[in-house]
Amino acid sequence: MLSVEGLSKSFPGVRALHDVHVEARAGEIQALMGENGAGKSTLIKLLTGVYPPDAGTLRLGGAVIRPTSPRHAESLGISAVHQEISLIPHLSIADNIMLGRQPRRFGLIDRRAVRAKARQALARLSLDLDVSRSVAALPTALQQMVAIARALAVDARILILDEPTSSLDEAETLRLFDVMQRLKAQGLAILFVTHFLDQVYAVSDTITVLRNGCLVGQYASSALPRLELVQAMLGVEPGAKGSAAPGGAAGPGGAASAAEPALAARGLERTGVIGPIELALRPGEVVGLAGLLGSGRSETARMLFGIEPADRGELAVNGRATEIKTPRHAIRAGLAYCPEDRKVDGIIPNLSVRENLVLALQASRGALRVLPRHERDRLVQHYIKALSIKTPSPETPVKLLSGGNQQKVLLARWMAMQPRIMLLDEPTRGVDIGAKLEIEALVRSLSEKGVATVLISSELEEIARNCSRVVVLRDRKQQGELAGESVTPASIIQSIAHQKEAPPDA
């Protein structure tokens, strides 16, 4: 239905796409794969008219199209969910879903109908939210769902989803796949980007692989074994990079046990928001926080880091009672926090990669003790290499990097601090498989050096792989704890589900 021929796009200093051919057929789900910075999002932005292409033609049902703006693309029947959640924070959920296509009565917006339609759109994803709330107050995952609901609410012929599942947990992901299958049956062409191989094989019919802006190939999913897919994406023998492949993880955290807790929370609580939390984190230990969407994992991390400080309970760092009322207190105590929403809480978009990377370190040194130039360069070089951050130069504004690479810059910012305690909220969100393994390896090597880590992830595999202990949250309260051998995805799910009297919105 949609065919892309010879598409190219360059940005100053980067060739983002070069002579790419893609074919999307009606009634088919196509996965778009590639490393961070391979050009997936750029391809999507060309399809939706955000950027004009340098060369190439787009055909929709045989006719040549030249989308000039997202609005135009939408009128052509191309609907998209972009990688960075694009919603208007102060507007209500209903307004966000229906923006630009509000039902009217007597020429004016019929607000009742807007709400009803928005509710319908959410219902397709089995969500029941108060649609008059503003989206800014929603957790990231729900924002993502709202963005998806918005894309589904139009009569599109082509649906494009750029990493829709990066902040969703399993249940939400399954619901999304359900809807995708239904739409596919209705004859839509669906283009889908993800870094999760399981998901690719779960839903997609064909797989298109991009590498460094060039097309590697378009394959039928059934005909492409995993190993070959990874090989196509990375361009190397998978063995070289993927040595620490899933499953082969050495049980981490074994070394640390008897030492004094690096962080101990006793009855820590923010009234009406989260808690009470009991947590003891020993040096070198990686503790996972698990729970459903909105269970309060992020809130726990934010409370520990003093963003929304606790108003009750005690906190001790390295055995000393410590009060953390602001992020600065937390940093001084040796904590680091990699936030979940990188666009809002993480990157400083117009500053360079270098500046973003050294910001926290410099802030902890104060304004006067400037990090020497060579030291800065060394750090930046080191982390660009260690995390394989793909950037034209350290001076590039970070907003021009691909989503995954932005995430790596943020991680590097905090690793450069050499913290004693790390709070990582979805650190691998939007990061490609190769880099994900590298990040996990980094976390492990830090933990070997005695850094204690709290890891929040919607991917239970990831938690199971890395954590020696898992704290389970539900309804913004601590529910239980798993340790040692019992840390497996299945047991975590069971622990979350077990204490559930009734499913929330059935």
Binding site: R71, S86, I88, L91, L99, I109, S134, A137
Partner: protein, 334 residues
């Protein structure tokens, strides 16, 4: 069905404080205890208030328009010169409005097309319109026409509140009220209003969500031009004159009213209803100083500053301490 929305909190707080302020004035000054005081308040702030309505939309979109004061002046001299030259006043009004709308649209076009900062473009616009006003007429011109006299003297209605008093509501006050209502509707119940909020909330996201940035931006500034033009027509009516030097500083007053009404200068949140309250608040504060009549000049400035300061601080303190505000921090984009 009215539902309580946390985002309306600033509005409610502002309304409560406005009522408190007004009640205080009623208690302290017996001359304020008349309908006429209220009508004077509306009439006296009609021109600035009209500008503020247009300004609300511009600020909601994350922009700013410094040219409104000059556009008011330009409109008044255009009307004055045309009427003096034998043109029918109503036609003169239409021409004046057409020019101000075109001026606004041009501003919006420049801002959008060349992605220039609104501050610079409208500052240049402020100078340009001022110069143009002087070009049209170097000196103030009186406007004399039976139609105008009729509008000023006869158009309007007598308002009576039984047991209280009876007063005349002139056309200028009516115009302001009508534009207000239209502004509220435009802001709340049209897709234009939503699009403006979206652009101010997150420009990039708005683009990705298919908001027509160009049309909306041009429309916004044209709307603001229209409101300033209406402000000019009102001023011409109230003064029976066209003056090239009027309206200096009106832009800042209008911006102040908008912001006091709870609209974020960074865009994305706020409302015309808030602006109306902002206009009333600044109007009452000024009126109080005059009602009192005992203050020497320096204290006029100081009292206005102090009263506004107390108001704003109370507004903030109340908003922050309200129980509903807890946890708002989570998603606050500032």
């Amino acid at each position: 069905m009215l539902r309580w929305d946390r985002r309306d909190l600033p509005l409610v707080v502002t309304a409560v404080l406005l009522i408190a302020l007004y009640s205080g004035v009623l208690v302290c000054y017996d001359t304020a205890r008349s309908l006429r005081f209220l009508v004077d308040l509306i009439k006296g702030n009609a021109a600035m208030g009209l500008c503020a309505v247009g300004m609300t939309f511009v600020i909601l979109s994350g922009g700013i328009d410094l040219s409104v004061g000059s556009v008011v002046a330009l409109t008044t001299v255009l009307v004055g010169t045309l009427v003096a030259g034998g043109c029918h006043p109503l036609l003169a009004f239409c021409i004046g409005l057409a020019v101000s709308v075109a001026f606004g649209a041009m501003t919006g076009h420049l801002i959008h097309r060349f992605s220039l900062p609104p501050f610079l473009v409208t500052l240049a616009g402020m100078f340009f319109a001022r110069g143009a006003a002087f070009l049209v007429s170097m000196q103030p011109i009186g406007i004399d026409h039976p139609v105008l006299d009729w509008i000023v003297d006869e158009l309007g209605f007598a308002l009576t509140i039984p047991g209280l008093d009876r007063t005349w509501v002139p056309a200028t006050a009516l115009l302001f009220l009508v534009v207000l209502v239209l502004g509220v509707i435009l802001g709340r119940s049209t897709s234009f209003g939503r699009n403006v909020l979206a652009i101010g909330g997150d420009r990039q996201a708005a683009l990705l969500m298919g908001v027509p940035l160009g049309a909306t931006t041009v429309g916004l500034y044209a709307l603001c031009g229209l409101c300033a033009g209406l402000g000019g027509v009102t001023t011409a009516l109230i003064d029976s004159a066209g003056k090239p030097n009027i309206g200096a500083g009106m832009e800042l007053e209008a911006i102040a009213s908008v912001v006091i009404g709870g609209t974020l200068l960074t865009g994305g949140a706020g409302s015309v209803v808030g602006t109306v309250m902002g206009v009333m608040i600044t109007g009452i504060v000024r009126a109080v100083i005059n009602l009192d009549g005992r203050l020497p000049s320096p204290w006029h400035h100081i009292s206005i500053g102090l009263l506004l300061l107390v108001f704003i601080v109370m507004q903030q303190v109340l908003i922050r301490s309200a129980p509903a505000a807890r946890g708002v921090e989570y998603g606050r984009h500032s």
